[in-house]
Symmetry: C3
Subunit: 648 residues, 3 copies
């Protein structure tokens, strides 16, 4: 059992050697044991083509090693230096409208450009050759936040090769893309282009395949570097930091098996309780990618949340609560971007472990305080996070729902999945977030929120799960299209009609609808016809007045629920309560705003409790609290912001 | 007397031959007698340059003919295949900012590109050669929704030729465009460009002429195909489907004489009663283009309305009500886009006559039910729609008012004309929508909403109409500029000051104003000075307090009213009531939400009634109701959604 | 003592010679004594390269001279003719995304393009050669509203030269720009580009330097023309009209010493009292640029205000009140764009001295009336505007705060400075708006609103001012970065921490905060730690509950106040009242909406009073009112809209 990782991105190239020494001393004060070095250092390491400057990095790694701090060494390939862009203008990224971007920010490359791939492999090799034996080296950090799309001719050529691989012949592609519509039939491969700027709506399957292609293309760029590092540094784990967002053409579930340790960056976008919900969701998602094994929070902000037009400063204690939530849900540590706040550059107001005010500050004190608490939690490592419920998540379904041709532009896959997750988070019921084709047999309940696109195989697996006694909750606009983004004919929700015992002829996108139970739905409704299912709730008023809104169907040994609208939280909570009871899942008594996670290893169990509310709460828990190092008796009192990690 | 057309766009290339057979059987079940085939079939017909595949189309036309269904055969020139774009990149459209669009949607061509024109003529000729004798052929459908603008060099060259034709010499162009302002004087024709992206405001007359040019250029593209089809298929009527929208550079009133049958696509953009108002307006506009003769609703959606961020599903019966409104106002049929909902492609969620759910659905049942009712209405064909009121509409005035340099960006010509039309629609008073230079002598009342641009000739014709006893209602911001979009000096509303007996020195754009009568205006007000007219209503409060808002002037034998603000509906209704009474027009007693159209042929008259409201209404009508096939006595009861076509 | 200037832009090239004669007669009727001619006349003067047409201008200047009207003759270089753009496409401006703009508007040039500079110098020389001896010539008006940015390769090359000049060597540039962040290190000068479209956030110092560069580049373009005019016309004053706006890369404070007379264009963007506040602020700013000497209002609109989506028509008398406010605050006249409203072109609805309605109009009558009043005010010329308060304004701080990387996108430097100015305007306390490095010793109070960027030198000068007894009021988010836009480490507000006796560790961007005094702040708050200062007000509620919001610190012989949030007007007014009292500044009793300016020359003093309110007010003033030509006794009664210029 090793200690949890604690630290962050360290960019010494921005500072003088005097500061480096202070840094190591402060890191020790804060309990830092791992820093990521070199993410943006390409122009410092190779200021001119072929001329390397390693002296500063040698010195920094030695200093860190001497200070007892391990290094997650990055290949700096996410930010090629200006000289590279000037020499290889064809490697600059191009937008859908043909605009070629320039250097002067970060990520100004096209991963399909041969010159870029060659240069990236080159700098990775040079770094590995020099540092693979360095005693500070603990991990390789390939690149940074893979996620850049490009529409250039290199990308077009690579896309065509990928399509040939996927479809084999053009007839299959034409059929999959429905190119008969709008006269888009291709008679040669070289007629196919990325979904560049065009007159009107883009072909949705073309757009979806372009994202799939990019995910694979970026993965191959990662694999190229991984192979080099592995060959020179066979014992060192290799990872990259996953970034999550609607613009990211990366299917992380598919990538995860290729990294030695799943690592994520996480920056919540809400000032209220949404930040805590997003934190839990992000952590559960990462654990899902990691197949239930531990993973690593590679980046978070020490002091702020990105909320619309402003940075919201994290209240005292909030950084520690978020960090504990990540740890509780399986992270092997809590790392930050970045160690020391930059004086200049585009992210100078990004919060840091050492703020502009310096180490004699509340922020640094909180960082150091949290660092000091980590060793006390070491025994959690290796234990499993408990979950009886699975929520399905699929990147391809997300991409398909980003299309502009849907019946409502308000349909939002991520929001639908987060809304489902939020109900269980609030109820203190453990949830795994897994892929649609995952083995579901271990779960008492599976939730399928708005899974617009689903493969035949996954749909069959879900049906089998119910047939054999599983409980299922499917929400609106699920099962509509197959993997080619083509509608499943004969009544919605195609893939799930049978298991749900219903059929839907037409959608009714709306502003708001009401249910007879008094609940409200938004955005969406459907005219549901019963085909075996019973109506649990019905629409009230409007054109759907009296028709089923929520249904329940017994299927094989199991039960399948359907909700045909986007329920508001109150109604959603009540539905989840029924479904959970129906599934025989025990629901803890949990005050509002309190987060609960259960871990287990063999006979041992731990209960992690985080009071995000603004009041004192009492909880029926007892045992040994690792954080306070004391035995606690029930009821356990947690002050506002209080936390406990109780071994039973 | 032939039956009304019933059917829609049929795209068999998306489906297998098995489906074609089911299609014909279902069409027969639904009473379909005309389908539009081949609109987007270019890449299916000519998958590679010069290699044609007609087998499938032969088969489909034969099947349709055998099933008794006629064909409106399209030239597929609105969507050139990918191979064409790849071969002729100079024929791809270019945006004002220089972005060259790519294929992958539809309409990715520049109609000025010689290669495109040649290819379009080629495919039209090949189709005509093969199918002009086919017994299923009933009509030629050239292209689809002409409306694509391009700013490329081909367009620039064609624009210059058009300008030379219009202006003869550069001095006249410089004067018309007021190029002395901002140093835009041209000394050679080749200095002139389309209104491409520039530093700041564009020259408004240049922008207007560019739309005029495009209308003529697209018309010449249409004429080219028409000549080919006519030469090979001299007996078959030729049309194209007009699309209406602010982005469409087509002056349909000018095009209409060139088509054998005016045909329109109509997709209302409102979920409420606005959809019915827009339907009536669109139909009256089409009849105006057709010079009062019958026309054809070529496309509508079977099941949905495009409302902002979402598709609104048409309530039961609404499709039939809209269709009847079109028929009542002169359409020779009711056609849909499209027959069978696509499985894939960008419009897979566009509603269709056969929905994704299949033929055993409410939607198809309604379609078939409406189809079955059409033969009963056959006697309406050939009768005239009655109208004592004309509302003026002019595409050039619309384009001129789309300029960004007006005193208020809230001025909206289309909204102003629709607001006027709405008053008469609600009152059940028949309206023709006609061009400013139309013969007005037959009307009791002419309404001129916000006719910003008007020619001397049209202004004189309108004045003559009043002089000879006509009633006129002019609304704010009319008569401001001449055909060169130059202000008529000496006091607004220049072109109409004399006939209205007023003069306006300055505009007062506003959020809202009040009138003494209690009414409200929005967006606009004017300081009106009386010069012979009397004040009918005055502004109340604000800087214009007490000055005339609505005026009435006796001019020659007639009367001319003016309203200097954009009245809200209640005040507008009350003004129209006064004006209508003043004009001696009879106003029926009509419950809210009921649509009334009167038709006449010789001695016969028909009253068409559509109850769009949600309550039962009673109406003082009697005679023979073609729809129910029964004699009806006054009061006629119409349930919510009910319809009647009563022969007196 | 000469008379005040009265007139405007005169564009005779838009009109026929008959109109010119009417123009001169109407100018005489209106008291016009100066007109700006030729601003947009390049294509009229040189319709083809090298072929000049001066006849019309000769005739116009002679007519004006004969009519007793002086001419401010413009070089027409802001609008090169179409032939120029066609010949030199490389001189057309390019946007950050690479879009090359075309001619067809105005300002379609890049000032860095050699061909443009040569052509501009050429036309200036030709004009000077021909007209330097013309008796009508009173002033040279170089160009128009310098403010156009370009990102083309000419601009890139010039930017690099400017950077070499500024930084000397690349190491200094790399350090100043913090290029170590995101791997932006430059190893050759030619790697540097303008801040063109890039993948993500732009380097903030690069963006700032690009604006500084453009200011200097445009200045050198101005200087080139000035040198030519001076050499041929040594006695004639030379100016250009400054335009003020967030998009304008001109540091007017730095330019002002280079013009013989500071001249501004002023177009308020508010319909309410904001228009009057903006007028006073613009005028005080212009006087600041002019170093307290007189300046000239070169353009304003006779009849309208640009308010969001609409033009708001100026109410009767409002034009005169704005004009008097400018004169009171140091303008040597009141000029308009333009004399006669255009019939066509992009600004045909820009209001003018002679409106479309003609000279027999209320608008022209007001113009002529105001012109007639001006000679009565002649004795004001040469007197000084009194001010005991200075507000600091800095273009570079503005540009730095336009960056997209700040903690809140709601931070608005201009709004912060105008909010400060508004308090003193409302209180009738005279204010100078001066640069941060100005000599402050003469002021009783200096206000520093949100001075995000400040140089060491200016910060030291401000501290010295306080040390020697000055009163200082600094507002939130001041003193954060140095001239390289790099954070001053060790606690905010770095540059001012010591003089203010406080330290701030972290910002708290917010929607709204409350103070214990009951006041409210918006957008911003800070956790202030006292380091010598006392808390004058504290936050109430929220995470900063109880911590200091407003502080007061005695420093040396002076006092320094700090407010850490963007106070709403009521609370701001109350703070200013305390600070003003603390500074011993006398505050007049002034009814709301009344503007007061004091002028002094030797023993003589004048009080200018403008009643912008809608009620009659009484004021304790007596003396001789130049406007009415009568002796007035206290209390002076001013009707709504009334004005008085009272010599004590």
């Amino acid at each position: 059992m090793t200690a949890f990782y604690f630290g962050g991105d360290y960019n010494p190239e921005q500072w003088s050697p005097e500061v480096w020494k202070e840094d190591v001393a402060l890191m020790q004060r804060a309990g830092v044991n791992l820093v990521t070095v070199g993410v943006f250092a390409w122009s410092s390491l190779e200021p001119e083509p072929g001329r390397y400057e390693f002296g500063w990095l040698d010195q920094v790694l030695d200093l860190l090693h001497d200070g007892g701090i391990q290094v997650d060494l990055a290949t700096p390939t996410a930010s090629p230096p200006p000289w590279f862009s000037l020499r290889h203008p064809d490697a600059l990224p191009v937008k859908a409208d043909g605009t070629r971007l320039t250097h002067g920010s970060r990520d100004t490359y096209c991963a399909c450009a041969p010159a870029y791939r060659k240069a990236a492999a080159g700098i990775a090799r040079v770094l590995a050759e020099r540092y693979s034996e360095h005693p500070a080296l603990a991990m390789w950090h390939v690149h940074n936040e893979y996620g850049t799309t490009c529409y250039c001719d290199h990308a077009a050529a690579a896309f065509r090769l990928w399509l040939q691989e996927r479809y084999g012949d053009l007839d299959r592609l034409n059929a999959a893309w429905t190119t008969a519509f709008w006269s888009q039939g291709y008679s040669h491969w070289d007629q196919i282009q990325p979904p560049r700027a065009t007159q009107y709506l883009v072909n949705p399957t073309q757009a979806l395949d372009f994202k799939r292609f990019w995910s694979d293309e970026l993965l191959s760029a990662f694999e190229e570097q991984k192979a080099i590092l592995r060959s020179l540094s066979p014992e060192t784990p290799i990872t990259t930091n996953f970034v999550f967002g609607g613009w990211v053409p990366v299917n992380h579930a598919r990538w995860a098996p290729e990294v030695d340790l799943v690592a994520i960056d996480h920056y919540p976008g809400s000032a209220g309780l949404g930040a805590e919900e997003q934190t839990a969701f992000g952590a559960d998602l990462a654990r899902g990618w990691a197949g239930g094994r531990s993973w690593l929070l590679m980046e978070q902000a020490a002091g702020s949340l990105n909320v619309g037009r402003r940075l919201h400063t994290k209240e005292p204690g909030r950084m520690a609560r978020h960090s504990l939530s990540h740890l509780a849900r399986g992270s092997r540590g809590a790392l930050f971007f970045q160690w020391r706040a930059s004086r200049g550059g585009a992210e100078m107001f990004h919060s840091a472990m050492v703020p502009h005010a310096g180490a004699e500050s509340r922020r640094f004190a909180e960082v150091a305080g949290f660092g000091a608490s980590l060793p006390r939690l070491a025994e959690l490592e290796g234990s499993a996070v408990e979950a009886e419920v699975a929520i399905l998540w699929d990147a391809e379904a997300w991409w398909a729902m980003q299309s502009t041709h849907l019946p409502s532009s308000e349909l939002d896959y991520l929001a639908a999945v987060q809304a489902a997750h939020r109900q269980f988070w609030a109820a203190g019921i453990g949830v795994d977030v897994v892929a649609p084709d995952a083995d579901l047999s271990a779960y008492r309940l599976v939730v399928v929120p708005s899974l617009y696109l689903v493969s035949d195989q996954a749909a069959a697996s879900i049906a089998r799960y119910v047939e054999r006694g599983g409980r299922l909750l499917v929400t609106y606009f699920s099962g509509i299209v197959n993997e080619d983004a083509q509608v499943r004919l004969g009544g919605y929700p195609g893939a799930f009609s049978e298991v749900l015992g219903i059929s839907v002829e037409e959608f009714h996108p709306v502003e708001e609808v009401r249910l007879r139970s008094g609940g409200r739905g938004r955005v969406w409704s459907e005219q549901v016809d019963l085909a075996g299912a019973e109506a649990v709730d019905r629409y009230s008023g409007g054109v759907l007045d009296g028709s089923p809104a929520i249904t329940r169907n017994e299927y094989g040994e199991g039960v399948a629920w359907y909700v045909s609208t986007q329920l508001e939280d109150e109604a959603y909570e009540s539905l989840v309560e029924q479904v959970v009871q129906d599934a025989g899942i025990e629901r803890p008594e949990l005050p509002a705003g309190v987060e609960l996670v259960r871990r287990r290893a063999g006979e041992s169990t731990w209960t992690i409790l985080i009071n995000h509310s603004e009041v004192v709460v009492e909880l029926p828990v007892e045992g040994y609290d690792l954080l306070s190092g004391t035995q606690v008796l029930s009821p356990l009192r947690l002050i506002a912001g209080g936390q406990a990690v109780v071994r039973a």
